[in-house]
Amino acid sequence: MTLIKKIVLTAAGLLIMAFAGIYAFRYEESSAEKPAAAAGAADSSACIASKEYMKANHMRVLGEWRHSSVREGNRVHVAPDGRKIEKSMNTCLNCHSSNRMFCFNCHMYANVKPNCWNCHISPMEAP
């Protein structure tokens, strides 16, 4: 094998792996699934963002909500569709506690052990 052939093969392999890596980890954004604007009232009848976004980033949303509401006193979140929502764990649980296993199913499957429920009342403990 000549040197040039080797270099070309290596480069091609690297390129394929790089694109495969990017493809596997690419961020899936689906603008179609963002909730439609609710009429007027600030409610929690629809999630603040798309299912895909929340699946991947709910912990970051909660972290940012905690920081801005506790430290800066800014308790109003404006969803991409313009709805105003209170930054509170209770906003999430207003809907998601209807399924008591909502958090736990996924966390158990993924074997992650968040410490939220050391203090916050989980949907499983709520009456």
Partner: protein, 258 residues
């Protein structure tokens, strides 16, 4: 040139990482962590409000514990029934414990034998926040000395720094000590310090603190110390009041009418 499998894999790995890194830099959509969530508004103006409380101890009578019960239920404060593990946000204490440095040496026995309500003073110059190594406790934009329990590492420096004993440590899992839980407010966990939060969770809803609402004698007045027309300011300007250990310079926001 001989290239073995091992060195090829090494180079390929480095190439892959570099590829992902540069691609993420060039196209933000390709970055692995997308956290942009630019939707914030209505930030409060720092220093506009300063919440304060006035306790009229002439009205605060005897052994009634409505304020303590209301507060401790609202905030899921545990009760283990012993002094060693005690956790308290608001409590009743004796004159010599609440005002150990009061200037009047010859107070009437009626005054010195009365019980006094004590709670966090939400000082304008809080020593506890200066002692906290993780900024878990801090003075808020509205004068409330608040705790971020997520950040508390349980070092108890703040308890040593507080001259009023307003902070309690959770030596045990607090959930064991809560008989009737309020689902509107979280509990704490073992190993964190906790204290009165001036009912900041009720203030955002426009409600008075739980203790103020629960007091059957209306002995507690809550209001904005920065507002000259507020009820608390009018009373403060017309009546002689006391503060706990004012000589320390902590500038408490809790005032007492003796």
């Amino acid at each position: 040139m001989n290239e073995d499998r091992r060195s090829f894999m090494k180079k390929a790995g480095i190439g892959l990482l570099a590829g992902i890194g540069s691609a993420a830099g060039l196209f933000p959509a390709l970055s692995l962590e997308k956290t942009v969530f630019p939707a914030w508004d209505e930030k409060p103006e720092p220093g506009k409000y300063r919440w304060g409380m006035l306790i009229d101890t002439r009205k605060c009578s005897g052994n009634c514990k409505e304020c303590v019960a209301a507060c401790h239920f609202t905030h899921n404060v545990p009760d283990f029934g012993n002094r060693k593990d005690e956790v308290k946000w608001i409590w009743k204490s004796s004159y010599e414990n609440v005002f150990p440095t009061a200037s009047n040496q010859f107070q009437s026995p009626e005054v010195t034998e009365r019980p006094y309500v004590a709670l966090c003073n939400h000082c304008a110059e809080p020593p506890c926040t200066k002692a906290c190594p993780t900024e878990a406790t801090f003075r808020r934009w509205d004068g409330i000395v608040s705790m971020d329990y997520h950040r508390c590492i349980g070092c108890r420096f703040c308890m040593a720094a507080c001259p009023y004993g307003s902070r309690s440590f959770n030596w045990r899992d607090p959930r064991e000590g809560i008989k009737l839980a309020s689902t509107d407010y979280p509990t704490r966990m073992q190993g964190v310090v906790e204290k009165c939060n001036f009912c900041s969770e009720r203030l955002v809803k426009g409600l008075d603190p739980a203790c103020v609402k629960a007091c059957p004698e209306q002995a507690l007045v809550f209001g904005d110390l920065n507002d000259q027309d507020s009820e608390i300011r009018r009373i403060l300007e017309s009546v002689e009041t006391m503060q706990r250990k004012p000589e320390l310079g902590t500038k408490p926001s809790v005032f007492y009418i003796i």
